[in-house]
Subunit: 684 residues, 2 copies
């Protein structure tokens, strides 16, 4: 009991820090009237989108809850956990975005004073999101424990919480991702390409929609994604640990007892929260700040948090497991996950930053046109899968060596334990981006824009690292959930042969699914942006004086159109993800479903990295050309780079990150329906 209490207290502490950061942000100067006017428009649009989205999600949650309740072997307690998980995830997203949409104007105003002040406001608003995610996540799990831990079916109830969180995540990520990229592409195509006006120009009717998109996609979507990874990795480890303690499926005791199976993942995660809090307070620069110092400040925070997490984890393993079971060996599994996560993040930076050769090569290839640029960038994305795959493979083998399949699961927790600060460094980027847009639209002096640009550029670097980290974590978490599923459904190691034709069939279908999912999300962005393009064109055509700057466009109309279209388009890929594992399990049986998940996880992992890094490197190749290389802005090379960016945008911000959630969601659904599938041969 005591360890769970400690974890709950750490969760509360995280929320206290979030409240402190939020209070700091809110008491800053919200800027001039013009700034507030723009910020209010963004706020209104983002909240309207979230309101609509949550309404749809509420309907979905009710339907699924009823289904879970009436299906034999599942029942209403699973439903309760599911609804609770969905509410917690939604709440974390809501709080994070509420602060972000109030922080953008304050960052813009703070940037008028100094770069350092701009960083402080934007980073602290990101920290609210990060702390809410981990705080609410671990608090929710603690509450579940206190309420349900005496229930004999407890093991099958907790995955419901993860399922709820994952369901919100997939719609938030896909819906937000479609919104943000459709608005971005739509604004660019009509504004930059057709009308030749600059980015973030107030005459562009889609410009506010673009800002709204940064919030609903990159803040709420990313937060839901990481919330899901976080709770799912803990749930997967618990389930595995509990099965190991309960039964003899694995033939040996992995952890000393059921309580330790429960306590250890929670305490390790709790240690990560404390480490993240300390790390967040270490992010500060002196009076005269410049880019290198900013980046170092962020790095100091994340690396310190990682080292502290390692120390806390060692203590947790030492005191909870001692010399029983795998004993201190479990620590090595946690450590390998932690280290692999950090290196994966750094490798992403190598493949996407214009400080390194891959992105410079892509920029160079722009000289022979859009076609060669696309090919070079796509090849770079494919090539960038090497470090993450090798690192995950090493993590799997080392973690398994030290603590069997339980080791693989807890390595996932190790990777995710510094999530609080990782999410903070990630969520700050879009706030800075928004602030830059607001500055552009408010006719502030160019040096202010330069400062917000510096913050934005730093945000892009941390976002690249964060994306790599999120993908690595998703891979390990999904794998841990898969292992839990096989144990929950009662598959013994020797029962599931790789050469079983159903397993092979499952793998083929599993590998196909991420491909279809990407196709659907890419098309969704295309269709949504098409409706924005038509609206912006219409406004330029019908509103007199718009191009001359004497009339204002109808921003909210664009936001409404984008909202409606994005929410409509998010349904199909979301439902595909939720229904597929159920269909495969029912038609081909539990063995095929395991194969299906392995295929989907491996292929989803590869595609997520490829999409994220190809997209990131096109984006930065364009930025490199904009610094003056190969003819600079307006040159043919730049035009080619803009094409690359258009292709890369939905890949890196919609399809790619959504794959993270997809592989975890399908795995946790398998875990949730395991009691239904146990002993079931499949209809075919």
């Amino acid at each position: 009991m005591v360890p769970i209490l400690i974890a709950a207290i750490c969760g509360v502490l995280g929320l206290v820090v979030a409240a402190f950061m939020a209070a700091y942000v809110l008491k800053q100067d919200p800027g001039s009237e013009r700034i507030r006017e723009i910020s209010d428009a963004i706020k209104e649009g983002a909240l309207a989108f979230l309101g609509h989205e949550y309404k749809i999600l509420a309907a979905f949650v009710v339907v699924v809850a009823v289904v879970l309740g009436v299906v034999p072997n599942l029942g209403w307690l699973v439903s309760v956990a599911f609804v609770f998980g969905a509410v917690c995830s939604g709440l974390a997203g809501y709080i994070g975005i509420s602060i972000a949409i109030r922080a953008n104007c304050r960052t813009a105003a703070a940037a008028q004073k100094s770069l350092n002040q701009g960083l402080r406001v934007s980073f602290r608003s990101g920290a609210v999101m990060g702390m809410c995610v981990v705080g609410i996540g671990i608090l929710g799990l603690s509450i579940l424990f206190f309420v349900f831990h005496n229930d004999p079916n407890f093991l099958f109830i907790i995955p419901g919480y993860g399922f709820g969180a994952s369901s919100v995540a997939i719609f938030a990520r896909v819906g937000g991702g479609i919104f943000t990229k459709a608005a971005d592409t739509g604004a660019d195509i009509v504004g930059k390409v057709e009308k030749g006006i600059p980015e973030d120009d107030p005459r562009n009717a889609a410009v506010i929609a673009d800002f709204v998109g940064d919030n609903v996609g990159d803040i709420a979507g990313m937060g839901a994604d990481l919330f899901e990874s976080y709770v799912d990795s803990i749930i997967a480890t618990m389930t595995l640990g509990m099965i190991a303690a309960f039964s003899a499926v694995l033939g040996k005791a992995l952890v000393p007892d059921m309580a330790t199976a429960w306590f250890l993942p929670m305490v390790v995660a709790a240690g990560g929260i404390i480490a993240s809090i300390i790390g967040i307070f270490l992010v500060r620069v002196g009076g005269k700040a410049e880019m290198g110092a900013l980046l170092n400040a962020l790095r100091r925070g994340t690396f310190s948090a990682a080292i502290l997490t390692a120390i806390f984890s060692f203590l947790a393993v030492y005191f909870l497991c001692g010399t029983q079971g795998y004993g201190i060996n479990i620590f090595w599994a946690i450590l390998v996950g932690l280290v692999a996560g950090v290196i994966i993040g750094e490798s992403t930076n190598f493949f996407t930053s214009y400080a390194y050769k891959p992105t410079l090569n892509i920029a160079e290839s722009a000289q022979t046109g859009g076609g060669t640029l696309i090919t070079t960038g796509f090849a770079n994305g494919l090539m960038s899968t090497i470090p993450p795959v090798i690192l995950v493979v090493i993590a799997i083998i080392v973690a398994h060596h030290f603590a069997d399949i339980y080791g693989i699961a807890i390595a996932g927790i190790g990777m995710l334990s510094t999530l609080g600060i990782q999410d903070a460094t990630d969520a700050y980027g879009p706030v800075a981006d928004n602030a830059g847009g607001i500055v552009e639209m408010s006719d502030l002096p160019p040096e202010v824009r330069q400062r917000t640009d510096a913050l934005d550029s730093l945000g892009n670097t941390t976002a690249a690292t964060g994306k790599g980290f999120a993908i690595g974590a998703a891979g390990l978490t999904a794998l841990a959930l898969l292992l839990s599923y096989t144990q929950a459904v009662g598959i013994k190691l020797a029962d599931i042969s790789l050469l079983d034709p159903r397993v092979i069939a499952g793998i083929f279908l599993g590998v196909m699914l991420p491909a279809i999912f990407c196709a659907m999300t890419l098309n969704a962005v295309g269709k949504t942006s098409f409706s924005i393009i038509n609206e912006v064109r219409r406004q330029f055509r019908e509103i007199k004086g718009l191009m001359e700057g004497t009339a204002r466009p109808d921003y909210s109309k664009s936001v409404t159109i984008c909202t409606t279209a994005a929410l409509k388009q998010m349904l199909a890929p979301g439902l595909l993800t939720i229904i597929s594992p159920v269909i495969v399990g029912l038609l081909l049986g539990p063995l095929a479903l395991a194969g299906f998940l392995v295929g989907a996880i491996a292929c989803g992992f590869i595609l997520a990295i490829t999409f994220a890094n190809a997209g990131g490197s096109w984006d930065n190749a364009k930025k490199w050309i904009e610094t003056g290389a190969f003819g600079g802005k307006g040159s043919d090379a730049h035009k080619a780079a803009v094409i690359g960016d258009t292709v890369g945008d939905p890949m890196k911000d919609t399809s790619g990150p959504s794959l993270n959630i997809m592989i975890k969601l399908m795995s946790i659904i398998a875990l949730v329906i395991a009691p239904v599938l146990a002993g079931f041969p499949g209809l075919l």
Copy 2:
């Protein structure tokens, strides 16, 4: 003995038909002096490329043969089979291309008379290739049988033959693929984009290199690919059948005896040769031919061959297996493979022809620029994986239901048995394409060009179908080889758990490999085309009167540059493919290698389809716009479509098809080194 004799006779019959077709082609009028001059330049370039390529291959073959000879548990007989396989594959490619480079001028001359006459000459030259592939393939296997079948290690000798064929195939496909697309892209970028001169314009120094590329890539490369699939599928079935007869690994008898295991796949394949010959003679149109009639003629040929193959297979199973073992059930496994292959081919057509919605949507998206066109086409490619995956999964499950894992292997033979005619319809396309180019360069009347364009367009349709068929066949063949490998290395079904961390690690690494392979081949095309672009630009700059048409470019210089660069670039991806399974097997052991192969096969299958169909649909979207849609030639939509075509070209003609060979080659290497890996735990 008698069945193998029958198979050998059918092989000889195939070669006789090839000789008959070749004689017909060679006695046609080779055209005017100008036509012959161009054709000679193509011939010279293609033979020079092939000469250089074969020299490199010879060195490679000698090195590998020595390695195979000295490695314990393999030995010199495996080397002999390996060299023999390499020589047979090289021979089939050489004969096919020798006829093709003599048929292009004759097709051009024949097209001056009539469309029908043009079809006859080009199709018959394609038939030479198709008949050589199957004839030499089955004859080689028969010779192996007669020479070695009393050797106790016979089981481990025959895979060497497939390994030899596969090694030639990977280099032929990759090297030829790089050459053809680099020349094509280089010619287009300088000619069409920079100088604004038409396609196939004689002033373009890369134009002959482009024609040479069609021969070395699409004829020799495709032939080697299909030769490999053909012999590998037979070898996989034999090995599985023999192990099943020899030992009790599977715990039950799959086929009555070892002889039947040997004879059945050979006789089914032999039946396919006869069916293909009949099908080829059914391809004829009446006096006044138009496109629909041409397509119907080709379809009549392939469908008749498929139906005849089904009948012959039934007879083979009935007489060889009777009521013993799986008996007549084996026929159903063959049939499901045959039917799946035909439908997969047709589905490819749906996703790539501008007669259907997917490609029309892509053409429409060109209106908003290159970026959206790329995204839409890529999404289409990803979506097009659905029918092939579902069909292969059905084939696996049904074939396994009827005849266990032996059924999966023989389903692969079923799919490939009509290869003779499939390859004929495929290899005819590039001949027609070449003929069209020759017509363009020879100032012949426009109606002749219209006729060769019609032939070319028909060739594109059959090429799309053929590509789908080749991918489907590659997937099943690789799977059968993988199953053979696991049996040869002594892995029992229950030994290889999907949840073994080494298997999971293997799957992750396996899924990564096709991604890296694609990155390397895409980059190889980029680098090679860059050297061509510079050469063509140089000639335009330095040769006076070239642009005005008063001077001729130095075609052979471009061909030489392209040859050198392509052959240099083909080495890395080829060696990666050959070395990877050896490294995985030695480091992580035979179980990880099996996981590696499953991952690589599934992911390679998906990527191959995506690349082929995305590329095909961009190509045809461009062609649709060129018919006048969305502004027609020269419009912004057309410019966007040209970008799509540039991206798609290396995807559909280099990386995508090479993946077919890659997954088969890695699987057969595993089978070859199985005696070395048996009982080996892996170094790590």
